[in-house]
Structures are given as structure tokens and as C-alpha cells.
């Protein structure tokens, strides 16, 4: 099979190089028009952690350096070590693509976004007429692997980021987040992630507090929340069931006394504090207060590590799914070789039948001719039934492509079918 995949990803290169070779949607579209000069089909996948190009090489030429050179030229990157690229061929390329779609090759194992990115990459190629029947089938199978991985395994379950782990703990304390209120202190990346997770979980009310009011406003707008001025933060603590603090402050922002006063005002109603800042924003002594649930980076990291391990434990299941889908794909792929042979074999027998029928057409009555015609059709059908079934089975179950090629060759030789093959898919495959 002349399917090739080249990849540069988080395992093979540092982030600076990945950034150099990252392709935006517009760049992918432009790059495809360059590739079309030398390649008939292909798909380009580019995310924060990987840039990958899959293609069917012309005339079984598996030299993928041409693709790498095209990419480097397009991105105007010079002196890049070739060792940063991994090259996959045939089965290896299919297996790699399936692993990527299933999320087991991702930086965060079980990453839920990658499947959508694979789908989008394929759709761009399809829109630009850069994908044929084989690419279509490979990517359909890859998307199926990704969906099965999500549905049949726990690869995407559990929080694997500290912000999400914080939300997971909150859900173990409160049942209905839609009736709860949350205060996010710090509008940086971590605070933003936590705010978005809470919004996605349907939090009833959310407020943002940040030293720089503009950043607080921006995040508040994103999560449809309110703003608490940073200087008056402590006066509002009692109004919130959940407080997530993720600032880069050097000293504590919330002290034991602040929270003790807030709890008193809340008449014992529980309050959850998630301190996901380094160094800490909240005095850890607050955990001694009966109705305060305090968690910091250290404790949340325990959940993250547990969940990552659980996801890793799912990899063998995903690998079985990949093997199953590879078998299905290659069963289909192998029939591409055999279908034209079967078709020409049947044509060959039919032409002999028609020749012989023509010879007796005027020697028998029309009624007898019809009977003979029916009989010969049934006879040819029965004669070719077993060979057809066996050939299909061989193609669908055959692990070794040489077996299929040998059988095809033998049949073509025995019946001199070389010039009679007219299967379009077979020709297409040859061209590829």
C-alpha cells in the first residue's frame, strides 16, 4: 500500500519547532495547492502539538522526504534537523493515524479535541478535491476508531487538568451547581479555564476579581459573569459557595480571619476554596474551619495523576480497537485488487456463453433457445460461485498482500484475462 504519513509532534520536537511548522487553516489550504503539483491525494493535520501530512505516493514511490521538503519550503524554515520528523508507511501510517484519532498519541492522553481536528483536516482535503477513495476510507476508519475509543473505553474520562480537577471536587460537595455561586480570583489562563469549566457545568452565578480590571471584564464577558473589585474582595467572600483563586500574587490574598468571618456570615453553609495558585493565595489553615473545604495544587494534582494513570490503563483496549479497524480497512483495501479480476473472469465466461448461444440461435426454436439461455446462465453462475466467494474471502481475510497478488496473477494467466480487466477501482489503485 502506497500510503505515507510524516509527523512532527510533541514527542519528536520541542514546542518552538512545532510552532514554526504549525499551519493555520488558511495556510493548509494554500499548502494543499502547492502539494497538488506533485501529489494526487493527501490530508494535512496541524494542531498545537503536531503537524502531520498523509498522502498516497505516486507510482509506489515511498520517499517521503519530498513532502518534508515541501513543508519546510512552504514555512520557510531552514536548517531543521530531519530527525525531528517521523515517517510512517503503509500499515504503519494507518496505525499511526488511528492512534492520533483515538487520542493515545496526544500530549494529554485521551484529548477530546483531536478527533474533531482530524475530521476538520479531512474535510478541508475533501473540499479541495485532494482526497480519493483510499484517503476517504482511511479517514472514515480513523474517525470511527476515535468515536469507538470514546464510547467503548474510559480514555476521555476524569479530569486531567488542575482546573478541571477543581471542578470535579466541587461536584463532590455540591449536587446542583446551577443553584451555586462562584468567585474566580485571577483572570489568567488557569482562572479562565476554571471559569469556563464552571460555566459549562451550569454554575448559577459567577464573578471575576482581578487586580487589572480590564482582564476581569474580558473574562467576565466570556463567561457571562459579574465583576468584584479586587480591593473590596474580602467583603464579598460570604456571598459565594465556591472560591477559586489562581493569581500570581507573591503573598496570601485570603487569610484565616477573612474566611472565618465569611463562614460566620454564612451561618455554617459550606464554602469550597480551590487555591490553584503557586505560591498559595489562601492561608491553608482555613481547612481547620468545619464548613470549609480547602484544596490546593498539591491535592488536586493527586486527582490529575490518578486520572492520567486510569487513561493510560485504557490504552490496551484502544489498541485492540485499532487492530480491529485496521483489519476491516485492509479487508476492504485488498478487495480493490480482486474485484476487477472477478469481474473480468465473469465477463470472460459470459462472452463464451454468448458466443455459443449465437451459434445455435437459428438451429432451435425460440422457446428452446430461451430454455438453453436460462440453463447456461445458471450453469455459469454455479460454476463461478465458489471461485468468486473464495477470492473475496481471500481478499477480506488475507493478511499477506502477496497471496492476493499471486491468486490474481494465476487466474489472469489461466484465462488470459490481462487485456480484459476493466475494473475502474483497480485501475484507480494502480494509478495511485
Amino acid at each position: 500500500m502506497d500510503f505515507v504519513g510524516i509527523t512532527i509532534n510533541h514527542k519528536t520536537a520541542p514546542i518552538e519547532i512545532l510552532e514554526l511548522l504549525h499551519l493555520s487553516r488558511e495556510e493548509i489550504i494554500e499548502f494543499i495547492s502547492h502539494l497538488k503539483m506533485n501529489f494526487k491525494e493527501g490530508v494535512i493535520l496541524s494542531t498545537c502539538n503536531r503537524t502531520e501530512i498523509y498522502s498516497l505516493m505516486p507510482n509506489y514511490n515511498l520517499d517521503s522526504n519530498k513532502i518534508i521538503t515541501s513543508l519546510l519550503e512552504f514555512k520557510k524554515v531552514e536548517n531543521l534537523n530531519n530527525e525531528h520528523f517521523r515517517k510512517y508507511f503503509s500499515c504503519g501510517a494507518v496505525k499511526h493515524l488511528f492512534s492520533v484519532a483515538a487520542g493515545i498519541d496526544s500530549l494529554v492522553i485521551g484529548d477530546s479535541q483531536i478527533l474533531g481536528q482530524v475530521k476538520e483536516a479531512y474535510e478541508i482535503s475533501e473540499d479541495l478535491n485532494f482526497s480519493g477513495s483510499v484517503i476517504k476510507r482511511v479517514f472514515e476508519a480513523a474517525l470511527k476508531v476515535g468515536k469507538r475509543a470514546i464510547k467503548e473505553t474510559a480514555i476521555g474520562e476524569g479530569a486531567v487538568t488542575v482546573s478541571y480537577a477543581a471542578v470535579q471536587v466541587v461536584e463532590k460537595i455540591y449536587s446542583n451547581l446551577d443553584k451555586k455561586s462562584a468567585l474566580i480570583i485571577g483572570a489568567g489562563e488557569t482562572g479562565e479555564l476554571a471559569a469556563v469549566h464552571l460555566r459549562d457545568k451550569g454554575i448559577g452565578k459567577i464573578s471575576i476579581s482581578n487586580r487589572t480590571i480590564e482582564r476581569a471584564e474580558k473574562l467576565a464577558e466570556k463567561v457571562k459573569g459579574g465583576i468584584i473589585p479586587f480591593p473590596s474582595l474580602k467583603e464579598h467572600l460570604h456571598n459565594y459557595d465556591i472560591i477559586i483563586s489562581a493569581t500570581s500574587a507573591e503573598n496570601l490574598i485570603i487569610h484565616y480571619e477573612d474566611l472565618a468571618a465569611a463562614v460566620k456570615k454564612r451561618k455554617g453553609q459550606p464554602i469550597v476554596i480551590m487555591d490553584i495558585a503557586i505560591p498559595r493565595d489562601v492561608d491553608p489553615k482555613v481547612k481547620e474551619i468545619d464548613s470549609v473545604f480547602y484544596h490546593d495544587m498539591e491535592s488536586l494534582k493527586v486527582i490529575v495523576d490518578q486520572n492520567i494513570q486510569k487513561r493510560k490503563n485504557e490504552i490496551p483496549k484502544i489498541e485492540s480497537i485499532i487492530m480491529e479497524e485496521m483489519q476491516n480497512f485492509f479487508a476492504w483495501y485488498n478487495t480493490l485488487e480482486i474485484v476487477p479480476v472477478i469481474k473480468s473472469l465473469r465477463n470472460f465466461f459470459d462472452s463464451i456463453r454468448e458466443d455459443e448461444l449465437e451459434k445455435i440461435k437459428h438451429k432451435v426454436t425460440p422457446e428452446d433457445f430461451n430454455k438453453i439461455e436460462d440453463m447456461t446462465r445458471r450453469m455459469i453462475g454455479r460454476l463461478l460461485h465458489n471461485p468468486t466467494i473464495k477470492l473475496r474471502q481471500l481478499a477480506e481475510q488475507g493478511i499477506n498482500p502477496d497471496d492476493i497478488a499471486n491468486h490474481s496473477f494465476l487466474i489472469k494467466e489461466l484465462f488470459s484475462l490481462d487485456n480484459k480487466t476493466n475494473g475502474t477501482e483497480g485501475n484507480k489503485k494502480e494509478k495511485n
Binding site: K172, I173, S175, N176, K287, S291, F293, V302, Q306
Partner: protein, 274 residues
């Protein structure tokens, strides 16, 4: 009929053990194979148990409340039935293991020692007494279930406070749900115990010539009822939350047990039939 009763008597402990095992497997295993089907096991067991109670009532011509072991079987059934209703209403399926354990214990003891009793005092055949005892048992089942949820609450609370994120953290519902389940169980138990007490106060004086309001069992039950009514009022009116409510509920349960044990061992009560 007697052979059918004997058959059910042997069958029920096995059914409860199977149900308990299925719930336990689902709780401890990561695969969650029985998440949806375990309820069917419980339903079948409950149907079998209800049939058993009906057969006994018809065959022996009295509600099965005439011996400790008949009471144990009723208690097993009422705990399982209360849990089944709670699971249906809330769709929280992860706590059955801890509740159904009590049904297993009560039914196994009952099946081992129960006797076929045709000869019982006439008063024990009275239907009013049947309703009185069954509603009291359902009430106590409610308190038992509430106590189990209370203990689960405290375990999860401690896990959360000490940053332990193991099986308990992963499997149990949230603290708020456990608190609600515990409170609803107490509420239902309290209502049913109140019904039992009202029937008792109205009907018992006419049925028992030696009835007296100062009877230890009556005083003990009233004391338990009063403690629970205080707890419910504190939650509803005083807006108590979390651990405070749970500790109050558990204290109520401990008092209930102490009261039941003490009053059952006292000899000078009209309220002892066994």
C-alpha cells in the same frame, strides 16, 4: 402452601445475598456492568419477599409480627423496599451496598430461626396491630437508612477534608445529595413512626387492659420521636447544614437503638409479646 412458604424462606436469603453482591460488585468494580440491571435484581427479590409475607399472613391467619424472627423478615423487606423507593425517586444508585447489607443480615437470621406459628395470642391477629407494627418498622427502617447515609456523609466529608481521592470519592454521590438522602429518610421514618404512635395511642388502651402511658416502651418511643422532631425542626426552621445535621441524625439513631434495647429487656411492659 406450607411447602411454598418453606421454599421462599430458603430462597429469600439467597436472593438478598445475590442482590447485595451485585450492588457491591458494581460499587467496587470499575466496569459498572450492573449499573442498570441491579435494580431489576432488587425488584425481583422484593416481589418474592412480598409474596412470602402474603403467603404467611394467609396460611397462619395473622400478620407476620408474632415473633422476633417474623419481625426481622419484615424489617429486611421494609429496609430493601424503602431503599428501592429512594433509588427510584432520586436515581442515585451507588449506595445500595451499604443499605442492603442490613436486609441480608436480618433475612438470614430470620430464615434460620423462624418457626411456623399457628397458635398465637388473639390480640396478635388484630389487623390494627399489624398496621401499627408495620408502620413502626418502616419508620425505624427510615431511621436506619438515614443513619447509613449519615455515616457515608461523614466518611466522604473526612476524605474531602484530608484530600483522599480513592474509591469513596469516586463512587459516592456528593455530600449535598447524601445529606438530602439522609434527611428525606428521617422525614419518611418520622412520619411513619408518628402514624404508628397515633394508632398505638388510639387503639392500644382498648386492646390491652394493663395499658399505661408511663410504659417504658411508650416513653422510650416518645423520647426518640421528640429527638427526631427537634432535628427536623432545626433543619427546616433553623437552617442547619451539613455535618451538624448529620451528627444530630446519627445521635438520634443511637438513642433509638439504646431505647429499643433497653425497653425490650425490661420486664414490666405490657408492650412485649415474645
Amino acid at each position: 402452601m406450607l411447602s411454598t412458604i418453606s421454599f421462599f424462606n430458603i430462597l429469600l436469603p439467597f436472593l438478598y445475598i445475590i442482590v447485595f453482591s451485585v450492588y457491591a460488585f458494581d460499587f467496587f468494580s470499575e466496569k459498572s456492568k450492573f449499573t442498570h440491571s441491579k435494580r431489576i435484581f432488587l425488584f425481583v427479590t422484593l416481589i418474592a419477599h412480598i409474596l412470602y409475607i402474603i403467603f404467611r399472613t394467609v396460611e397462619f391467619d395473622h400478620t407476620p409480627i408474632t415473633s422476633k424472627f417474623e419481625i426481622f423478615s419484615l424489617l429486611a423487606c421494609s429496609i430493601a423496599f424503602s431503599y428501592f423507593l429512594l433509588e427510584l425517586l432520586t436515581d442515585i444508585r451507588g449506595t445500595g451496598t451499604f443499605i442492603l447489607f442490613f436486609s441480608v443480615v436480618f433475612q438470614v437470621i430470620s430464615s434460620l430461626f423462624i418457626e411456623h406459628n399457628y397458635q398465637v395470642p388473639e390480640v396478635l391477629r388484630n389487623r390494627m396491630l399489624g398496621i401499627h407494627v408495620i408502620s413502626a418498622l418502616l419508620g425505624y427502617s427510615g431511621f436506619t437508612i438515614s443513619a447509613v447515609y449519615g455515616i457515608l456523609f461523614l466518611i466522604l466529608y473526612k476524605n474531602l477534608k484530608t484530600n483522599k481521592f480513592g474509591l469513596i470519592f469516586n463512587r459516592l454521590p456528593s455530600l449535598e445529595i447524601l445529606e438530602k438522602l439522609s434527611f428525606y429518610s428521617v422525614l419518611i421514618g418520622f412520619i411513619l413512626l408518628s402514624i404508628a404512635m397515633i394508632i398505638g395511642i388510639i387503639w392500644l388502651p382498648s386492646a390491652f387492659p394493663n395499658f399505661r402511658y408511663s410504659d417504658p416502651k411508650l416513653v422510650g418511643t416518645f423520647f426518640v420521636w421528640f429527638i427526631y422532631s427537634l432535628g427536623i425542626a432545626s433543619k427546616l426552621i433553623g437552617k442547619w447544614y451539613g455535618r451538624k445535621v448529620i451528627i444530630f441524625s446519627l445521635s438520634g439513631f443511637v438513642l433509638t437503638m439504646v431505647s429499643l434495647i433497653l425497653t425490650s429487656t425490661l420486664q414490666n411492659t405490657f408492650h412485649s409479646f415474645y
